[in-house]
């Protein structure tokens, strides 16, 4: 069963198409990464899933129903963090929980328990403005999960967190996932997603580039680059069949060999070793960033790929 089903969804703001004919299915119980550079359309998609804004065309099904009906079963940590500055932490969390339909009588104890769990003891009665930014972020995370949602949407949950808090949050995310919560994790920091997600969804300029599990991605994007450093710098690496291009950065003894499509990388490794002694030979596993750039290049050409690479490095 799918927690989220998006079919042909389009959303246009004046002249910009933020999301363009998007199809997507998020299986229940998965931890799915929503990836793409800033402005790719991630937040717009999430807002549409949350029924905060409505799509111009297409259909969105959430938890087997309409997004509006399911609002109370969804937890949401928006990218833009916010708390009522003057409100007390406990009151704020309980208020959001009640707005989300939490009916439990022990809500207060439940909130206190969660605050302990997030290593925020003694803040229950403090005003939100008295907390540090990182603490406020944890309070916001709590506000997103306190009503025990079936679907949890986290928009850039780690931005601005110190490594210790980040690890704590990661642990809690994994724990929720263990309890069966479907989690969508949106980020522009692609390697973060690589570490915790089991399914990835890549979006660029409102168009889906990739939608697959991590294993599928690893299998599909097998290494296309070999780095090697021969003892004899003059050996002709380009002569090996299957090598498309040899690139040596100025001053570097390491040569980067680009492989032709469809050739067996292992066979080329063996051939290279036959050429002569090597200081090092290495299959380069592509990072998500590289896969992303590659996908953009395939779809929109070299110039677009360069722009995408820039967008990623900038953010």
């Amino acid at each position: 069963m799918n927690a989220i089903e998006i079919e042909g969804v389009t959303k246009t703001f004046r002249t910009t198409t933020a999301v363009d004919a998007l199809d997507l299915a998020v299986p229940a119980g998965s931890l799915c990464g929503f990836l793409g550079p800033n402005g790719a359309g991630k937040s717009t998609t999430i807002r549409m899933i949350m029924s905060i804004i409505r799509p111009d065309a297409g259909r969105i099904g959430v938890l087997g129903g309409d997004a509006l009906e399911s609002k109370d079963r969804i937890g949401y940590l928006p990218e833009e963090r916010g708390v009522y500055r003057k409100m007390k932490v406990g009151e704020f969390v309980e208020y959001v929980a009640r707005l989300k339909g939490a009916r439990r009588d022990d809500l207060r104890d439940h909130v206190r328990g969660w605050l302990e769990r997030l290593e925020l003891p003694d803040v229950y009665g403090k005003r939100c403005q008295e907390l540090s930014k990182g603490m406020q972020q944890k309070v916001q995370f709590l506000a997103a999960v306190v009503h025990e949602p079936e679907l949890l949407i986290l928009d850039e949950p780690f931005s601005g967190l110190d490594p210790v808090s980040g690890a704590l949050l990661n642990r809690e995310i994994q724990a929720l996932r263990g309890e069966g919560t479907t989690i969508i994790f949106s980020t522009h920091v692609l390697h973060q997603a690589e570490q915790i997600c089991d399914r990835l969804f890549l979006i660029h300029h409102g168009v889906k580039l990739l939608d697959a599990t991590l294993e599928e991605i690893r299998a599909r994007f097998d290494p296309r680059t070999i780095g090697c450093e021969p003892l004899d710098p003059d050996v002709d690496l380009g002569a090996v069949p299957g090598v498309r291009d040899v690139h040596r950065a100025p001053g570097s003894p390491v040569a980067e060999l680009a492989l032709e499509d469809g050739v067996d990388a292992q066979a080329i490794l063996r051939r290279l070793l036959e050429l002569g002694p090597m200081r090092s030979v290495e299959l380069r596993r592509p990072t998500l960033e590289e896969i992303f750039v590659q996908l953009v290049e395939r779809g929109e050409g070299h110039a677009a790929a360069e722009r995408a690479r820039e967008e990623l490095s900038r953010t």
Binding site: S51, P78, G82, V83, Y84, R85, L99
Partner: protein, 446 residues
């Protein structure tokens, strides 16, 4: 509890149940009320008796005789009694509920202690002034002979008093010394002073207005100021509630709490909850100021002038005024990110809602003039102008109350409809605040 009510409760709690609100909205008027109760009591405590010697410089020797007569304790007591008889006769003609302030005046007069002042005739003003400074005299009066046959320029005398003399005593001395001049003049002209005074006393008119319900006593206070009080009450409660709505919406936006809220409630639920919550704040203010106003009016003996049976209308027009203002404030608050940006839109809105203050006197003076009737049908002014007209003493045709209420409700529906559209788009929009033209475009969006 429904979600909108949850929002409303939070809105109310965090506006009305805060220290700053209590300070600003409650303590101010409470203090005023306390002052209104306590000050008259303080003023009523009888002043201490006036005793001492007064020096008179009078070359004619005629005025000083009159001064002695005027400052004779028996004379003073007799004048007081005469005044009391007059006041009591006047008050008897007035219905019970009108008597409050006059009765106070009578009581004060009756309780006042009769002064005992000895009069000395002296020649040297400067020496007498020195004795005033030394505390031996309670004053020196200098009468020049011309005062007995006065022209406009010479109709005056000089009076030198010590710094520590109370105002009330100074007034009393001045009054008696002035009367002494008149007495001396009458003496010289061989007139019977008492008879002449009685002849010259102008009678007071007891005005009544003939209406279908019978004769009513006309009162300037009821005609002009009570409507103003009603309108002020309406304006304050609706406008201040609206202001809170504006700032809390902007706060939610700039704090970015908005998105968390919108993940739980729809923009319509949020807007409805906020408006209802602040309506409760407005009603608290209305009740508070209303009760305080009525109580103060009662305290000052003009309680009967506050037409309590008209409070129902006030509630209807509060509903119209508040919900119109609230919808506008929610829309403006949702469209901008900072209070500063809101000023662009608030300028014109404030101006429109200030118009009733300029119209107050004209409308209250003639509540059934064609202009007043016409103004009642200009939507943003309707509730204020109608309250001005209804709270006055003239009867307003019921068809006008009915049609303006309907018009008002139409205005409420229309402004909530338009502002909800702006709100829905505005709440999630960050960055440059929209221009008025863009707002209109949002309203046109389906």
């Amino acid at each position: 509890m429904s979600k909108a009510l949850l929002v409303a409760w939070r809105e109310f709690k965090h506006t009305a149940l805060t220290k700053s609100f209590l300070l600003a909205a409650v303590i101010g008027p409470v203090m005023m009320f306390v002052a209104a109760i306590v000050l008259p009591v303080l003023l009523q405590t009888p002043p201490k008796k006036l005793e001492g010697s007064l020096a008179v410089v009078d070359p004619t020797g005629e005025v000083v005789v009159a001064v002695r007569t005027e400052l004779d304790p028996e004379r003073i007591a007799a004048d007081r009694d005469e005044k009391l008889v007059g006041l009591e006769a006047a008050i008897a003609q007035v219905p019970e509920q009108f008597r409050g302030p006059v009765q106070d005046q009578i009581d004060r007069l009756r309780d006042a202690l009769v002064p005992e002042v000895a009069v000395e005739s002296v020649d040297d003003v400067e020496a007498a002034k020195a004795r005033v400074l030394a505390g031996e005299l309670i004053g020196v009066a200098l009468y020049r002979p011309a005062v007995l046959a006065p022209t406009t320029e010479t109709n005056a005398f000089e009076l030198y008093l010590p710094a520590d003399l109370s105002r009330r005593h100074a007034d009393l001395i001045e009054d008696r010394l002035a009367r002494a001049v008149v007495r001396a003049r009458a003496q010289r002209a061989e007139l019977d002073l008492e008879k002449t005074r009685a002849l010259l006393r102008a009678p007071t008119a007891i005005r009544s207005t003939v209406t279908e319900e019978g004769e009513t006593r006309e009162n300037e206070l009821a005609r002009i100021f009570v409507p103003f009080g009603f309108m002020m009450l309406l304006w304050m409660s609706s406008w201040i509630g609206g202001q809170y709505l504006l700032t809390s919406t902007i706060e939610e936006k700039s704090n970015r709490v908005m998105e968390v809220l919108l993940s739980a409630v729809s923009p319509m639920q949020l807007m409805a909850g906020k408006i209802v919550g602040q309506a409760a704040v407005g009603l608290v203010m209305l009740a508070l100021y209303g009760v305080l106003g009525a109580a103060s009016a009662d305290r000052f003996g003009v309680g009967h002038l506050v037409p309590l049976h008209k409070l129902g209308y006030l509630a209807v027009y509060f509903f119209i005024a508040y919900f119109t203002i609230a919808a506008l404030m929610a829309a403006v608050g949702s469209a901008v990110n900072e209070l500063r940006d809101a000023q662009t839109f608030m300028g014109p809105i404030t101006l429109v809602f200030m118009i009733p203050f300029f119209l107050w006197f004209v409308v209250s003076d003639e509540p059934n003039s064609s202009m007043a009737v016409a103004l009642s049908f200009i939507p943003p002014l309707t509730p204020f102008v109608m309250v001005l007209r209804i709270a006055g003493t003239e009867a307003i045709p019921f068809w006008q109350i009915a049609t303006t209420s309907l018009l008002g409700f139409a205005m409420v529906v229309g402004s909530i409809w338009a502002c909800a559209k702006v709100f829905r788009v505005g709440v999630l929009l960050y960055g440059k605040p929209p221009t008025p033209g863009e707002l209109v475009r949002w309203i046109r969006l389906s």
